[in-house]
C-alpha cells in the first residue's frame, strides 16, 4: 500500500477513528489499532472496539492498494507532529513508513489481526436534521451514567418515537434529562432504541466540528438506521456503528411531578456564573461532594457552599420566585449541568421540597426538562 495526502486531513481522519479504538475487548492486552484500507484514491480509516466502530473515508492520491493495521496512538502522534504539508504512507508486510518533509518514521506493525466489526444495520436509512439532533444530544447526554459498573442501561440515551416526533432521554438515577425533537421521525411509531451515550457524544462532536468547519453553518446530512443489535449514523465521510444497549430503561415518565408549588426564574448566565464561583469551595471525596444549598425567597435565591475544612461561599442571585420560601441542597455540578444545558437566556427551577425532584427548564420553552434529585443534608 502506498498513498500521498495532506497532513491536516490525515490527522483528522486518524484522530476521529481512534476515538473508537479504545483497546477494549482485547482483554486490554494489545495496543489499540487502526485499520488503513486503500482502494484507488479512497482511503478508509477504521477504529473499533466491540461496542463502537468509526470509519472515516477520505480522498488521497493512491499508488497501490492494500490494507494495514497500525498502532492508533503512535500514528496519531506522529502525524500530529508534522508541519502542514504532504505526507506519504507506505506499507509492506511488517512495517509502515510515514514520511513528511525530511522526517521519516518506520513503525512496526502489530501482530496481524483485524479490527472488530459490527453487523450491518438492517433498517432503511432516515435523514435526521443534524444540527437539531446534535443540540438535543448536547442537552441530554450529560445526564447519562458515565461508567457502566452499576447499571449498563443507564449509560445509554433512550431514543423513543412520540406522537409529535422523537424524544431523547437519559438518566444516571440522580438526574434525568429529556428533549423532544418535534417533527423528527427516526423510528417507527412507538418504538425505541437505547444507544450508548459514548457513541452519541461522538456524533454530537462530529456534527459540531463539521458545522464549524463549513462556513455557512449547514452541517452535512446525518443518516440513521438501526437493526436489533446495532445502529449506524452516517455523516458522509464518517460512519459510526454502535452496538445498542439492552433495557429495561427505567419507567421515567412516572417520575415526572404533575405540578410544582414553587418556581424560580433568573437570568441563566447570572445563575451559572454564581454557581461556578461558589463551587470553588466544594471538596469532592471518593464518596461524596459538598452540596450547594439554594435558599429560594422573594426576589432571589441565595447559593451557599459550606465545608468544615475549606470554609464558606455564598452569593445572592436576583430572580422571580413564586411559592413558599424554602432551601434545597443540590450537587453543584449536577445543577450547573442542567443550567448550562438551557439555550434561552432565562432559566426556571421548579421545586417541591428538599427531598423531591426539582426541574430545570427554559423559562419560555417546553421541549427540554432536566430533573434533579436534591442532596439530603442532615
Amino acid at each position: 500500500m502506498r498513498f500521498r495526502t495532506e497532513r491536516d486531513g490525515l490527522l483528522e481522519a486518524l484522530s476521529t477513528a481512534s476515538r473508537a479504538a479504545s483497546g477494549r475487548g482485547s482483554g486490554g492486552t494489545s495496543t489499540p489499532s487502526l485499520q488503513l484500507s486503500l482502494h484507488g484514491n479512497h482511503l478508509v480509516v477504521t477504529g473499533a472496539d466491540p461496542d463502537l466502530v468509526i470509519e472515516v473515508r477520505s480522498s488521497v492520491s493512491g499508488d497501490s492498494d492494500g490494507v494495514v493495521l497500525v498502532p492508533a496512538r503512535l500514528l496519531v502522534d506522529i502525524v500530529r507532529s508534522f508541519e502542514p504539508g504532504a505526507v506519504v504512507v507506505t506499507s509492506d508486510d511488517d512495517e509502515v513508513r510515514v514520511t513528511s518533509g525530511r522526517a521519516e518514521f518506520t513503525v512496526r506493525i502489530p501482530s496481524v489481526g483485524e479490527v472488530s466489526r459490527l453487523s450491518a444495520a438492517e433498517s432503511e436509512g432516515i435523514t435526521l436534521p443534524a444540527a437539531l439532533f446534535a443540540d438535543g444530544l448536547r442537552q441530554v447526554v450529560r445526564a447519562a451514567l458515565a461508567d457502566d459498573t452499576r447499571a449498563p442501561q443507564l449509560t445509554g440515551v433512550l431514543m423513543v418515537a412520540t406522537d409529535t416526533g422523537l424524544r431523547l432521554v437519559a438518566t444516571d438515577s440522580y438526574r434525568l434529562a429529556f428533549r423532544d425533537l418535534s417533527g423528527v421521525s427516526a423510528l417507527s411509531p412507538s418504538s425505541e432504541v437505547l444507544v450508548p451515550a459514548r457513541a452519541l457524544a461522538e456524533i454530537q462532536r462530529l456534527v459540531g466540528t463539521r458545522t464549524d468547519a463549513s462556513k455557512d453553518a449547514e452541517p452535512p446530512p446525518l443518516v440513521f438506521h438501526h437493526g436489533e443489535l446495532d445502529a449506524v449514523f452516517d455523516l458522509g465521510e464518517v460512519q459510526l456503528t454502535t452496538r445498542l444497549l439492552r433495557g429495561p430503561f427505567p419507567d421515567y415518565e412516572r417520575l415526572l411531578p404533575a405540578s410544582y408549588p414553587s418556581s424560580f426564574t433568573a437570568a441563566r448566565e447570572d445563575l451559572a456564573a454564581a454557581l461556578r464561583r461558589v463551587r470553588l469551595m466544594v471538596r469532592d471525596t471518593k464518596d461524596a461532594t459538598t452540596p450547594v444549598r439554594v435558599s429560594f425567597g422573594e426576589g432571589g435565591a441565595e447559593l451557599t457552599v459550606l465545608t468544615a475544612e475549606t470554609g464558606r461561599a455564598s452569593e445572592r442571585v436576583d430572580g422571580a420566585f413564586a411559592g413558599e420560601d424554602l432551601t434545597v441542597a443540590f450537587n453543584p455540578t449536577y445543577l450547573l449541568d442542567g443550567i448550562e444545558a438551557i439555550r434561552s437566556d432565562s432559566v426556571t427551577i421548579d421545586v417541591i421540597d428538599s427531598s423531591k425532584p426539582a426541574t430545570v427548564r427554559a423559562a419560555d420553552e417546553d421541549d427540554y426538562r432536566y430533573l434533579l434529585m436534591p442532596v439530603r443534608v442532615s
Binding site: 438518566t171 417520575l255 423531591k356 442532596v375 439530603r376 442532615s378
Partner: protein, 440 residues
Amino acid sequence: MSDLAASADARRGAAGCGLDILHLDMDCFFAAVEVLLDPGLAGRPVVVGGTGPRGVVASASYEARARGICSAMPTAVAKGLCPQAAFLPGSFARYAEVSRCLRELLTTVTPLVEPVALDEAYLDVSGSHGLLGSSVEIAHALRGRVRDELGLECAVGVGRTKLVAKLASKAAKPVAGPSGVVPGAGVLVVHEAAEQEFLGRHPARALPGVGARTAERLARFGISSVADLAVVSRESLVRLLGASAGRHLHELASGQDQRRVEPVREVRSLGHEETFATDVRDADELERHVRATAGGVASRCRNAGVMARTVTLKVRYADFSTVTRSLTLRAPVASSSLFAEVAAALLRELGPVRGVRLVGVHASGLVVDGGGGSRQLQLFEASGFDPSGPGSGWTVERRSEVETVTEAIRGRYGARAIGPAAAVLVPGAAPASVDEGRRA
C-alpha cells in the same frame, strides 16, 4: 501530615500564648440533665442507668458519688449503697438533644470543635483570640454560657495539647468524697512552664493507651506516675511495651501530643449490646433479638451518615464465655434489613443455642455516606414505587447493597444460605434451605 502539624504550629505561634486547646467536660451529664428536667431532684442523689437486674450505672450525680456510687457499677450494688437515690432509666434521645445544643454553642466560639462524646469536646481556639480574647477568657466565658444557656455545669481545661487540656478539665471538676462534695476550680489553665510538673503528678494510667495491663507491667518496673515514665528512655520503653506503644507513651509522657482537634471526628465503629434480664435459650427468640439489635445499629449508622463494611456479632453465654463472629462485605451497607440478615447468618454459624446472657452487634469499617451526613437522593426511590413489587423497586444502589450482602453470605455459607425473602422465608418457620446452606 507533617504539613498539617506545621501549619497548626504556625497558627499557635501567631496566637502568642500557645495555649489554644480547650477540653470541655460536662459535670455528670445524664444525671444533670435529669435534674434539669425535674428540679425536684436537685440536691438528691440521682443515678441514671439500667434498672433491670443486670443494669449498670451510666451516670451518677455528685450527691450519689459521695455515697460511693460510680459509673459502670452494677445498679444493684448502687441500690445497696444508697437505697434512697432516684434511679432513672434515662433517655438517650433527651441527652442527644441537649448535646446538640451544646455543640451549637461551642461552634459559635470556633469551627474547630471535636466532639468526643455527648458530654465532652475539644476546641482549638487559635483563630478566636481576635474576637473573644485569650484562651483563659474564652474558657471562663464558655462555662458561663453553658450555665446560662443550658442550665448545666461543666469544667474546662486549657493547655498546649489535647492531653494536657483533658487532664486539666478533669482536675477542675468537683470532687465527691464521704464528707460531701468539694467544688472544683471550673477552669484550669496549665501553662507551658508548668506542664511537665502537672503531667508528672498524674498516674501513668491517666495517659491514653495505658490500661490495667500496661499499668501493671509498668508498675513491675517501678513506674507508677507520668513523672516516672518521663525519665525512662524511649529505647527502654520500646523494649518494655513494644515499638508503637513504647514510642507513643514516651512522647505523651514528655508532653508531646501531635493530635490535632479534628472538627469532624471520624466514627470508627458503632455498636449496641443487649443484656437479657434472664438468659435466652430459645433460638427463634434469640434471632429476633439479634435482628432487632442489628437493625438499631444500622439506623444509628444512617443517622451518623456512615455505612459499614464489617458486621460483628458478639454473644456472651450464661457462663460468661464470649464469642464473636464477623463478616466483611465487598461494599459498605447501612440498611437495617441487610444488617439483620448478616447478623442472623452469623448467629446461625454459632450452632445450637445454649443460655445466652448478652448479644451485641457492631458495625466497623465505616465510610462516610454522602459527605458529612449529606446524601444524594435518587430519582427512583422518590417515585413511590412499591419496593416489594416485581422489578418496580428498581434502584441501582439498593440492588447493589442487597447483592453485596447476598454474595458475602453465600460466599461463606453456601449458595442456598440466602436468597430473596419471598423465596425462602415462610412466616413463623425457619426456612429449610438455611440449614442446608449451613452444612454446605
